[in-house]
Structures are given as structure tokens and as C-alpha cells.
Subunit: 94 residues, 2 copies
């Protein structure tokens, strides 16, 4: 039986939300994610960097119709870590 692996990096409220959202929608724009979380852009940027540094998150920048956009998505490693963390959570809270 696999009880999952508790991941403190993912557990923090904002980062848990980020992972949960990105796992569902596969990818999302910075600005939209910022609105969903209701945090400042500096805070979001820093939380994203933490996830990216752990190879949990991919940050893709592109220009569309003259607008700069940043797309976020979990890497495979990030998705796996998130799923493991969810397992761990479930084994804790039942």
C-alpha cells in the first residue's frame, strides 16, 4: 500500500492551490491564476519560481497578438509530486 509522500513545498496553501488548479486545467495564464488566488503579482511570481526551481512547474512565455503572455503548467515531475502529496493528505485525513 502506498501512502504517498508528503511534500512541504506543495503543502503551503497558495502552492497547493496552484498545483490543484494546474493539475485540473493543464495550463493557465499568469494573470488568470493571479485572480483565482487573489494574491499580488509579486507573491505569485515568487511562489511560481519556487515550484519551477523544483522542476514542478514549466513557465512558457509567448507573445500573442502583441501581448506578452506567460503560461504555467505542471511538469510530469510536478504532477507526480502533487499526486503523491494528495495521497499522503488522504492517508492523513482519511
Amino acid at each position: 500500500m502506498n501512502y504517498g509522500s508528503f511534500d512541504e513545498l506543495i503543502h503551503a496553501p497558495n502552492r497547493l492551490m496552484i498545483c490543484a488548479i494546474l493539475e485540473l486545467v493543464d495550463e493557465m495564464e499568469f494573470a488568470l491564476l493571479k485572480d483565482k488566488l487573489a494574491v499580488s503579482k509579486s507573491v505569485l511570481s515568487k511562489q511560481l519560481k519556487l515550484l519551477a526551481d523544483a522542476n514542478y512547474l514549466e513557465i512558457n512565455k509567448a507573445t500573442q497578438n502583441g501581448r506578452q503572455r506567460t503560461w504555467l503548467s505542471l511538469t510530469e515531475e510536478g504532477t507526480e509530486a502533487y499526486k503523491e502529496h494528495v495521497k499522503a493528505l488522504k492517508s492523513i485525513v482519511g
Copy 2:
């Protein structure tokens, strides 16, 4: 539909474990809980105080067979808050 109420006090890893354990077993001794969490007594004492200050935890001291023992248990308010937090978690992680 009730999505629960995310509770940062409960969410922190050690405190989440404390609540999860106490919700299951109803009450537990300080020393045993300390072993389960694998933290120092000062750390456990402080986390317990935080929960107690929020009226989430009851701390009962008694002397049994000449030994001082401290029993921990969630209050009704604590149990309720924990359950709400678990709901919130589940609504986040699916």
C-alpha cells in the same frame, strides 16, 4: 453545497497531524503524541498551545500512579474546525 472552511491554523503539517490523530483516537497522551510526530517536546508543547489558544484543544493533566500525565483531546470546536478544513482540502484536491 458546503465546500468547507480552509483553516491555516490546522493546515500546518504538524498541527494537521495532531488534529487527524486526535480526531481518530479521541484522546492521547503527550508523550505518545510526541513519538508519533517525531518532534521535540518543546515543539509539540508550542503547537498544542496554539491549538488550545484557539479553543481547538483541551489539555487535561492528571496524576496516575504517581506519574504526571497530560491528555490531549480536540474540543467540539476543534473537531468541527478540523472537519471543515478536511472538507475544504477535499474540495481543493478533489
